[in-house]
Subunit: 536 residues, 2 copies
Amino acid sequence: MKNSEENMPSFEGSKKIYVPGVLHKDVRVPMREVSLSDKDMASLRVYDVTGPYTDDAVSVDVSKGLHPLRQDWILGRADVCASSDIAVQESVCLHGDFPVKRQALCAKPGQAPTQMAYARRGIITPEMEFVAIREGHDAEFVRKEVAEGRAIIPVNINHPECEPMAIGRNFLTKINSNIGNSALSSGIKEELEKMFWSVRWGADTVMDLSTGKNIRPTREWIIRNSPVPVGTVPIYQALEKVGGKVEALTWEAYRATLIEQCEQGVDYFTVHAGVLKDFVPLAKKRLTGIVSRGGSILAKWTQIHHKENFLYTHFEEICGILKMYDVAFSLGDGLRPGSTHDANDEAQFAELRILGELTQVAWKHDVQVMIEGPGHVPINKIKENMDLQLEVCHGAPFYTLGPLVVDMGAGFDHVTSAIGAAMIGSLGTAMLCYVTPKEHLALPDKEDVKEGIIVHKIAAHAADLAKGHPMAIALNNAMSKARYEFRWEDQYRLTLDPARSRRFREASLGDKQDPSARCCTMCGPDFCAMKITQEI
Amino acid sequence: MKNSEENMPSFEGSKKIYVPGVLHKDVRVPMREVSLSDKDMASLRVYDVTGPYTDDAVSVDVSKGLHPLRQDWILGRADVCASSDIAVQESVCLHGDFPVKRQALCAKPGQAPTQMAYARRGIITPEMEFVAIREGHDAEFVRKEVAEGRAIIPVNINHPECEPMAIGRNFLTKINSNIGNSALSSGIKEELEKMFWSVRWGADTVMDLSTGKNIRPTREWIIRNSPVPVGTVPIYQALEKVGGKVEALTWEAYRATLIEQCEQGVDYFTVHAGVLKDFVPLAKKRLTGIVSRGGSILAKWTQIHHKENFLYTHFEEICGILKMYDVAFSLGDGLRPGSTHDANDEAQFAELRILGELTQVAWKHDVQVMIEGPGHVPINKIKENMDLQLEVCHGAPFYTLGPLVVDMGAGFDHVTSAIGAAMIGSLGTAMLCYVTPKEHLALPDKEDVKEGIIVHKIAAHAADLAKGHPMAIALNNAMSKARYEFRWEDQYRLTLDPARSRRFREASLGDKQDPSARCCTMCGPDFCAMKITQEI
């Protein structure tokens, strides 16, 4: 299996550059430099998540995986050692497994190799400097944000291939793309291609939500080749391990799954620890019950066994495990509303308050935390979600699915989601989970993934612009200036899909028309307002 | 030329019904009744703009035009007479003109046949009752909204084919689709097809923005066959009349154009009367100058002649003309920002204040008014636009283009617009002008028009839901209930594009899978949260 131009088309008029670190000499931060024909500005540097795949000087063999750029940083801190956990040995011979075996790392006894722990001790790690350069911040600012829990840098010590990035409301708004198969579809190659495709269009993280066959080897291929953090929902694999029977789920099966995934290199876990036994009846008043897969599994478990959610009762042990690998929590909103009717109800907010309590428990263990948010929420109820999350979760980053602002948008739910995402992003949500046009109808294919990512990149840009991020302002002003000066080539390359922009315009021009003309077919040459204005 | 299934595909599982008036026995309000297999609710009635085209009992010959449903109401008020204006005669022999000649109507001397004049005199017209039934309001409420200028019913006495509708913030949020050719493209047949296509997907009004050939006959074909109000920007045709030379524009040429279009049946006019001579220099500080076509034309005229904008100086005369035909003003924002950089600047807000003054002048003449709004506006500056418009325009309806919340979204500007549109709609904007994926790049084709309309219908629904409109709540709840009960057929027919929803889901199912299965390929049968919840 090779990566190819098909999965990762190159960017027009752009080149990869690396900005070196100052505090850490081996930090090299990749950026995309877009060439412009603007007399005032020869190029614009933009944030780049595509990793080595878009560096012409690098050839990646996906059966070997990416270069582990963080390896020396991780080992240099001398707080980790080889892990001897049984979980890794177990799976060596699985069909389709990744050809290169790695020795998993874990914390030495008593150590906490987490970015939060370092930050709290006043250490600016290479990961923090990397993030600072990427986003145009001071490294000390990044350290403080991580130390105080307002941002996370989700980088497992077993995912050294990952380029460090930050999720926090004082950073660029990030987006996540979901990949992963279900029992009904999709193999390893297809999922790997979705990962390439996702980062090509701008996904800042990917979540592997596989519930079908070959969950473990699929994930291994993805992690070894992913330049962005990878998230999972471990309860899915735990459930597979007990034969798909919710009643058979145990803490022990879940714990083994956690360790297995920690050692593979998953960077953040969705953990539905806030779905408490007594909250489940609250969802019975709803129009659409529980719509989180993990949430419904744990709700069912609590009702079958008449016991408290084992993720809640074992939460401190989970913290102890995540701390050993620097895996971040994404505290799951298992009771998120699945319809605008159910938004902001008692079930949802009861869970959110618990997530706030758990945030403080995790921080006690130096484990990084973000909080997942809804779901389906009408516009008039979005702000209340953000305000309450900030208040009860002590400033931990918010990571929302949408929110979708209507329920009737099937076929176009990427747009219903982008609307809510832009709004909640402008209010401070740190990461937006993408939604594709197939939401509520089917598993997305590649084109859907692309559409979903692009409209959420737009939502994220809109949020960044609203918050006044200098990089967002620079990009939008560069585009507007190119537009006013009729620099069409520059306009194309500043868009999210240059080939589409070019095709749209050039297909509309007749054979005799000059593609560099100072007008488009929208208004024609005599009615172009910008042209007329320039004549005044 | 015939209308066809291709331009106006029928709605799955729906039928046209008519709700009779109470005050006016000949009022019959068309609605679409969607059949459901819900045991609690056999059908849902939804707002319907498609006119007779989706009534199986009606056959429309587009070369004869639609049945003039308002004719008796208009004549019954005995305040209009045959017009003898020369403009109509002039154009009889133009190439491509509509085959059936109509006698144009105008007010009898001293009369004001406008909905606002009737409303102010306490009269509930058939048009007002029609609107009341369509939207689930009391007829008296509609009358009061129109009397006080918070809503308009844009229905020219020369467009008797039009089904009355209201634009106002206490009504369902409307959307407009722009059609019309430019010098570079598109003929009469194509524009007529775009109109059919627009109303099929839910456009509440269409604006014919033609600037190319055959402006007048194109418009005639459109108006005679349009069940929704038609808007125009008369300065475009006035400019064609003077050979395309801005400096040659005169009040007389403009006046003749206005009368010609009033007599054809245009329902509302964009008039850029707020682009004052002294405001033009304010736009010189901008990144993208003036981006309104009409705005740039008038700005140029004022600077060439060193005179005040003739639309401003002749505004009372314009009111006198519009009053004779009940044409509504859409006071144009010629100085709207064309980039987020220029949003909410001095030029924009200076013009808005003038539009507020002109609103009161128009109301003095019983002429209905709405106000056009931007443009490109970042999320953090949207609310200020709505607040200022409400304040300085005395509650007249706001009609916005987008706003587009970023500048870098070319290729996806239907989405950048839908984001801003949903937000400003939820704050009270009454009508949203659609933007298509081709915005900034090329004139849209049919697929673009459809995409643009649908995402703005979603924005409008999101706004209505945020404002708590009972019809929006009913639709979304019906969809959510169908989703929770796995009624796939009901879900399809409640979406904006049932064929697309069905195709998305069914294409993902293997041969052996039952299309009515209680799951989709997103999660598969074992991981469906809604199914698991129902087992609890």
